[in-house]
């Protein structure tokens, strides 16, 4: 009985359940929902990148969509214009995104609060303007087409795992999502991750404790840029066509909404928030123009009433339950 209780209350169980559900989804969902899920997974990865820089390190960056766009465009250009293979192009695109994050991070992270937000916003606008205006390179507003799917992976049996159909692509994205989640878990569990949390709680105090806040923030920013770049590459190779809209900072704002609704600074936050805010309007067949409105209203309601998001609200309910139980024994003080 006790072991059952421990199993039921352990978070690992729920993560395993979620993974099993993720693996099993295509067997009972139709093609449209599977393709929707692929997009949602890509957005979850992007939301994880926002979680690293905003949720854990406390620096709200509006440049994540721009990094996503840079990753997608770098990957697209290397494969379409330079005819590189999938994996080298993937690697170079992600490294380039990280490098850009490093270069932007050095000046931007010197600033705090609204100033940091404004500078990342500025860089984001500049990047998307360059993508639109540099027509010779990026194809401008028409977008960039002909990006290849992942190259086939040889299997031990001699056959090849091809990615030109929906199902392999689904598992490919799911695999990357799982890797990203595990990486985030390991990162936050490590000492480096703890310094991130310290910075988000109180930057001045963290600095006085001997944490090199600038280099830690920069590290967190670069990691988040790399993760966003990976999401961008996945999007490019899944969607085959990319257009400048993906880099607009309005996407970063959607991302903030996903993260806050899910619960910033928690593992489950990006997953829950993206799932709720992307899947629900899609399944209810909401008109596209109303989506922004609904996202905004949900974000505002959460911000006013449950600022810690779905996960935080759940924790609060649980804590209240335990407190009332402890109190009924009459031995604990608050």
């Amino acid at each position: 009985m006790e072991t059952l209780k421990t199993i039921l209350s352990s978070k690992t169980t729920y993560w395993l359940l979620a993974l099993i559900l993720g693996v099993a989804f295509p067997s009972f969902l139709d093609g449209y929902l599977v393709s929707l899920l692929i997009l949602i997974y890509i957005w979850m990865i992007l939301c994880c990148s926002m979680n690293i820089i905003y949720g854990y390190t406390g620096q709200l960056s509006l440049a994540q969509a721009a990094f996503f766009g840079v990753g997608a465009y770098a990957f697209g250009l290397f494969t379409v214009k330079l005819h590189l293979n999938f994996w080298p192009a993937f690697f170079i695109a992600v490294v380039l995104t990280g490098l850009l994050g490093f270069l932007i991070g050095i000046p931007a992270l010197k600033l705090r609060g609204p100033y940091f937000i404004l500078v990342t916003l500025g860089f984001s606008v500049i990047i998307s303007e360059i993508i639109v205006a540099w027509v010779d390179l990026t194809g401008g507003a028409n977008g960039l087409a002909g990006i290849p799917r992942p190259s086939p992976i040889p299997l031990p049996s001699g056959a090849h795992l091809r990615f030109d159909s929906l199902l392999p692509m689904y598992y490919f994205t799911l695999f990357f999502l799982a890797i990203t989640m595990i990486f985030c878990r390991r990162l936050i569990g490590s000492l480096v991750g703890k310094t991130f949390l310290a910075i988000s709680c109180n930057e001045t105090l963290a600095e006085s404790l001997g944490i090199n806040t600038m280099s830690r923030k920069l590290l967190s920013f670069v990691i988040s840029a790399v993760v966003a770049g990976i999401a961008g590459v996945l999007y490019g190779s899944y969607n085959i066509v990319i257009s400048p809209e993906i880099a607009y900072f309005a996407r970063s704002m959607d991302l903030v909404a996903f993260l806050i609704v899910g619960g910033a600074g928690t593992m489950a936050g990006p997953v829950l928030g993206t799932m709720v805010l992307m899947a629900v309007p899609e399944l209810l067949q909401v008109i596209p123009s109303l989506k922004t409105l609904i996202n905004g209203i949900i974000l505002l309601l959460f911000l006013i009433f449950v600022p810690s998001g779905i996960t935080g609200g759940f924790e609060n309910v649980k804590r209240k339950h335990y407190l009332s139980r402890i109190r009924s024994y009459g031995s604990a003080r608050r």
């Binding site: 404004l118 704002m253 903030v256 922004t292 974000l299 911000l303």
Partner: protein
Amino acid sequence: MLEFLQYLLNGISQGCIYVLLASGLTLIFGIFNVPNFAQGHLYMVGAYFGFYFVMSLGMSYWLALIMATVALGFIGLLLYRFVFYPVRDAPEVNLFVAAMALLMIIEGAALYFFGTETKWFVVPFSRKVLAFGEITLPVQRIIIILGTIFVMTALQLFIKKTTTGAALEATAQQREGAMLCGIKVTRISALAFMIGTGLAGVAGVLIGPAVLLAPTMGMGPLLVAFSAVVFGGMGSIAGAVTGALVLGLMESLASGYISATYRLTFVFGIMILMLLFRPRGLLGREKWRP
């Protein structure tokens, strides 16, 4: 030379719009410490209100200007009471996110209620074009410049000459100190919101007849106005005015002589450089350090 004068005039009239937006931002930021990200969208709403007041209700342009300003001021009051007041004790970033949520709500609502197609705000006298030799200037641009001068003078007189204005300034300088002096800080904050959003309304109705109305028209001016506030120095109205005029001119000259496609890149480049080398801005107060 003529070309240069033409760009100069265009820059000044566009800069005036930024002046109105940026001083609204500054007021709200100074009093409530929230970068009101929805300011540009309120300006868009102001333009649409003006459009409907004139085109559907048949008001005169000037009456529409006043009515739209009052309506926007009232919207500002509602926003303060139901959005920003409840989250006032949250971390600074949450206030920004609240403003962002507001932006999304207003944009979504505008797309839904006003429609995606662009609208043409026709005011008969404003379509005339004055020509001075080879320099041309639409009447509406002159109205923008004169209107801005009038509104900004009135605002300055209000802040400097009335008791309420003094309370406003005191709250911006030292919130707790103002409370100790018996100033009702929540009321002053509400007032600052009303004035700030009202200024966005004025800007919207002034620009309306000069451009095509679209639900996304607020984003560009908002970004420039934000840069202007940072450039001039957060928390100083004089700084906001200077910054807005400088950026308006710079934008007009850069798109005239260099390239119009990289318009925002210039503006944001200037803002980023300013933040890196002189974070308190051109005329910002010394104590204001990010």
